[in-house]
């Protein structure tokens, strides 16, 4: 079967180059659509022309890989509203893009996660952190790559960080998402879920408490144990499934907790240590999704 695929991007990263190669290996040449070129009439439908020159309705599927979360989310909403098939689905992306909504989805599905609270005011944020105990972590509800995470060592830290946020931050930073700090063993786990499988996982090691590879964390293969697989499948299902990266923390007593879920994951540093061609897995999943819908 030959599918017509659009790849929606902000710009071409290593991941998107790998994806294009993976599709090409399957005889598919996706149309690359830049989110900066979009100019969409919201009052009409998918028959309007995409920047590629084709109507959106001509595409069997759109793979959303925008670096811009805002643009990606709105386009998924729009395409889904028009009945255009997408990976990921809007509700999955929306749940992953907002840490509060991710936590709610995990809680609803009884997926283990660190203790977490939300508050919307400086005083109640302090109370939330007091409830969690110190150290704790304050995170913006949106954002990525470890940006603006704060480890809050004690109440004085909390007062300082909250005052900075109240004074300098826009309203987004006045939502205080406060999470229990998990004393992890110098690493966390990133597991890649594609459809119904946990295809591989890496340890991200760093002497810094923020272990994102975007912040210098090193990637090593992490065996996908039955326990990790079960947790990741449950986490993926909780947000609606698709192509996801599940960030997992190991507690000192050996439990696994889901920290975050990413819906447009980076994986350039993960195929080599795991030996899994992640781009090929994603391309195959996208084409399978088209087949299932046909």
């Amino acid at each position: 079967m030959s599918a017509r695929v659009a790849l929606l991007i902000t710009h071409l990263r290593a991941e998107e180059k790998l994806l294009l190669s993976a599709f090409e290996a399957r005889g598919i040449r996706p149309d690359v659509i830049l989110d900066r070129d979009l100019n969409v009439d919201l009052t009409t439908g998918p028959e309007q022309t995409a920047p590629s020159g084709l109507p959106w309705s001509a595409y069997d599927i759109v793979l959303e890989r925008c670096v811009s979360t805002t643009r990606g989310l709105y386009m998924l909403a729009l395409l889904e509203n028009w009945g255009v098939l997408t990976v990921n689905r809007y509700h999955t992306a929306a749940a992953c893009a907002d840490k509060l909504l991710t936590s709610l989805a995990l809680a609803r599905a009884s997926v283990p996660q660190p203790a977490v609270r939300v508050a919307f005011d400086a005083d109640s944020a302090l109370q939330a952190l007091d409830c969690l105990g110190y150290p704790a972590v304050l995170k913006p509800v949106t954002g990525s790559w470890g940006r603006l995470l704060a480890r809050v060592s004690d109440r004085e830290d909390a007062e300082t960080i909250i005052e900075h946020r109240e004074t300098l931050g826009n309203y987004v930073y006045h939502t205080y998402y406060a999470q229990q700090y998990v004393e992890k063993p110098g690493r966390d786990i990133r597991a890649f879920v594609v459809g119904s499988r946990t295809i591989c996982a890496i340890y991200r090691t760093s002497p810094h408490w923020i272990t994102n590879t975007a912040r210098g964390g090193q990637a090593f293969n992490c065996p996908v144990t039955p326990a990790l697989d079960d947790l990741c499948q449950a986490a993926a299902a909780a947000v609606g499934g698709g192509v996801l990266a599940i960030d997992v923390l190991e507690t000192p007593d050996g439990r696994l907790l889901v920290n975050e879920i990413n819906h447009t994951m980076e994986f350039r540093n993960s195929s080599a240590p795991t030996g899994v061609d992640i781009a090929a897995e994603v391309a195959a999943y996208v084409l399978d999704t088209v087949r299932v819908q046909a």
Binding site: H11, L12, V67, S68, T69, T70, W145, N262, H263, M265
Partner: protein
């Protein structure tokens, strides 16, 4: 045209092997992040600055 000046430091840059349109590259001289606007002709521009909602 297979070379073009870096828009930041004016170094003369060639198309990297395997490069694609809209790919981000770093200038080997000044380290500026650049976007390949076009391969033929070879045109570079400064990559857009990272925005608050960028991520994965």
């Amino acid at each position: 045209m297979t070379t073009t000046p870096c828009p930041e430091c004016d170094a003369n840059l060639s198309i990297p092997p395997g490069a694609m349109q809209n790919e981000l590259i770093a200038c080997p001289d000044c380290g500026a992040e650049l976007e390949i606007i076009s391969l033929d002709p070879f045109i570079l521009d400064l990559a857009p600055a990272v925005e608050e909602d960028w991520g994965e």
